[in-house]
Amino acid sequence: MSSTAYVTIRDDSGLASLSVNERDFLRSCALRGAATTKEEDEDDNPSKVLRLDGRRGHDVRTIKLRLHRWDNGAETTVQWGAGTRVSAVCSAELVPPPSLDRPNEGLLVFEVDLSPMASPGFRLAPAVSTGPGGGGRSSSSSSTNFSNQEQRLLSNRILRCLERIILMGGALDTEALVVEGGKWVWKLTLSITVLDAGGNILDASVLAAVAALRHYRKPQISMTPMASITTETTPTNEYSGPATSAVNMSLDRTTIITLPTLIPSTVKEATPLPLHHSPLSISFGLIPADDAVHSTSSTSVVAALMDPTDREELVASGTLTIAMNIHSEICLLDYGGGCELLPDQLKKCCRAAQGAIQELCQLLERTLQEADEQAQTERLRLLQLQQQASNVSTATMMLPPLPTNNNNNNNNIPFLQQLDDQLDVDTTVDDSQITDYIQTAAEEAYRKQALDYSTGHIATAVREDIPNADRPGSAVTTSSSSASSSSLLAAMLKSVGQNQKNPSIDATTTVTTIDVAPIRGNDNNTMETTTTTTTTITPMDPEDTTAAAANNKPPVTSKSTTLVQPKKVTRKDAIEIDDDDDDEEEEETVMLQSEFDVVVTPKTTTTTTSTSTTQQQSKTDDTMDEEGPDIDDLSMAIKSSKKDKKKKKVHKKK
């Protein structure tokens, strides 16, 4: 990315933006305690220092931590004081081992992203990562830009500190990330995004990373054998002599490729990562009295400000970072120089860091525990919902979104509010909510189906059936053409049509009754199964005739099944609608009859056998008359075809 694409009017975060007055003021604040005493009372120094935000020399800003977990992922957002916010996301995937010489080690990839969102001093740069492809990319043209080099150094420093603290410090052993030695290992990706850079983003990044790693749950794996490859070793190997070739010919190797699949956490509970300990870090900004600019004789006076803000970082000549875990073991000591330190001062800083890190560790543990409980209740709720949903109805039902109002509020509340309220979990209300919700959801689904049926919302589907459906007029034609059709399909259709109507009403039907034992049940289930094969049968319901526009013969099997159920309820309404569309039906039937001779027959028969006898009978009477010309046409068509055949035969004979 070239930095010449935009113009920077004022750079508020670079070294150049620090005015002399501000720098002198900050330095005097920091060195106030240090100037009075030399080496004896250095323990009192931190309390004498008063910083811009009211802190003392060794005070850390207030930190808020928010954790979130989902299937195969965890996210942490750290709000460090008022100005620094860092987010870390942890996820994992299964990959083959990255390098051949290390088949029994997993991968832990870090990624640090500093963007102009965090600070106006940052340029747009690709995220630095330790994975393949991230470290190999050269910085191209922007590498020589000084400000970009600073940013690059900073992001690299964060990356290296993370790597050293977590990987080399022994927090996470990559050998524990192996699934199957030499074949499948876990690749953990930890992405750090700096959202707001207000000083000391290194400590915030470390806290976010460690919290994400702790909060993440690794899903279980099921090894499913996917394929088996059988390879025959043929004696085409160059190195095998004639003696071995005879042996090779008989070898037959079979390798079974197993592809591991992740099991969702609702089926099997995911496990936490094997972290030995949780190291956290704290940084000092070092301000020496003997600066390059301000040379004084007191070369050994150095003020150490714990957790520097961004302005203090600009003034500081050097930084000292110490990482420790809850057992007071030093995991990292990174003193990047920049100013001189007596060894005693170094030790004093380490001791001061110890107390601060203990508090940080306790905060982390507390927050992790609360978030873990919350996630557990969430998971239990999911399981409950699933179980109850499966008990409600066998039909497919869309589960409504979970009533996670409590949790959603946590995400929407501005971050600077009290964290305690967000993390409270109210379990008593949820259970009743769950049952109510499930019942209302079931009712809604049922009503939806019923309403659609009654008001004709599924008419589009029905329309497609209309041509195939019972046309009163088509009954006659079908009867005539039924003779010509002797296919099994027609028979099935007839039988299904019979079942849809009451078997008792057969007076006007000219349908040849073909009893099919399994279908007679009038059960919805059987109807459903049979309707899949017969797309045209759904018709018997007068409702189908409502929308007669579309004459397509689409596979409406699925919709036909739904129509079957509520049929009894809304039949009367449907009947009324039928009267309006008789004309349309006739036209459609004409077209259809010519196209689908065989299929039409059963439908017409079914229409005649509808339950509402009187009205339908009247319809059939009407349609009988209307279909007069149709019948004539069909009969004419048949006759013509017969004539053609006769002609052909005659010709052949000739």
């Binding site: 050269s138 007071s328 030093i330 995991c331 990292l332 120089g337 001189e340 007596l342 030790k347």
Partner: protein
């Protein structure tokens, strides 16, 4: 290694390390000033140095003070230190030879950062406002302790270039061998590659540190891996500082030797051919810990 006694066990038996050193002993060090005589082209007087610490070798070149390449880089009240550390592809020794891009290898970038900060603490920057001091270090061979070798080389090159410094910056690494009966003898000074890498299954503790010996202040210290407590850290830090003092002795002797040769040339003794100094000295430093 199929022998019943592993080399690492020798440490417990005879207090010798795998290359025959005692725990408090640094490696053989060679300092060569003016190794690269072509430094005058960059503008201004330049300096260079080639430093060998055992098998690790680093070559540093210093140019400056000179004008900044970009106006936006310059600082109004002091000089800017422009550091770049690179490693040649044939540098790593042994089986750990991986192809890494020196531009983006994060360890090298980190080394660049640390070296820059360390040099900012030693050079009297306020004498040259708005100017740039360019330092380039190349790691020619890597047998452990390359950060220390780079820092030492840069420091000697600075002196060869005649840039005023507060003190001669010296660097050495120290480590901790882990479990042992006699903990005093487990702090090692100047770790080589084998000791830096995983050592008997544990992550070795390696603490490279840089200090200004005559002023007695620490400028750079780095350590990862777990240290049980502060006392251990104190001991390891102390051992590293002792190693730095030993390095300082060698460097100081080398500088004096070089200065005497240059003065001799001025008086007419010696020829330009003897401009390149070859200095070789073995120094043994015993630590207390």
């Amino acid at each position: 290694m199929g022998s019943s006694i592993r080399r690492t066990d020798l440490l417990a038996l005879s207090n010798l390390r795998n290359d025959g050193r005692k725990p408090g002993e640094i490696r053989r060090m060679r300092v060569q000033m003016g190794a690269n005589t072509n430094t005058g082209d960059g503008g201004g007087v330049g300096g260079s140095a080639l430093v060998d610490m055992g098998l690790t070798s680093a070559l540093a070149t210093v140019r400056g003070p000179m004008a900044c390449a970009r106006r936006s880089d310059e600082l109004p009240d002091r000089a800017m230190v422009d550091v770049s550390v690179k490693a040649v592809p044939f540098a790593p020794s042994g089986g750990d030879r991986r192809v890494t891009n020196p531009n983006t290898d994060r360890r090298l970038v980190e080394m660049t950062h640390l070296l820059k900060r360390a040099l900012e603490a030693t050079i009297l920057l306020q004498l040259y406002p708005k100017s740039r001091i360019q330092v380039q270090v190349v790691i020619l061979a890597d047998d452990g302790g390359r950060l220390s070798a780079a820092i030492n080389a840069a420091s000697v090159a600075l002196i060869d270039a005649g840039i005023p410094v507060k003190d001669i910056l010296c660097s050495c690494s120290a480590g901790y061998a882990g479990s042992g009966v006699n903990t005093d003898e487990k702090t090692l000074v100047d770790l080589n590659r084998q000791e830096e890498s995983s050592f008997a299954g544990q992550n070795a503790v390696c603490l490279p540190c840089a200090m200004l010996p005559q002023r007695g202040t620490v400028v750079m210290a780095q350590c990862e891996a777990r240290l049980p407590d502060f006392d251990t850290m104190d001991r390891v830090l102390g051992a590293a500082m002792d190693g730095c003092r030993a390095v300082f002795d060698i460097i100081q002797a080398a500088i004096r030797e070089r200065a005497s040769i240059l003065l001799g040339m001025r008086r007419g003794h010696g020829t330009p051919a003897t401009n390149v100094l070859k200095f070789d000295q073995v120094l043994i430093a015993y630590t207390n810990g």
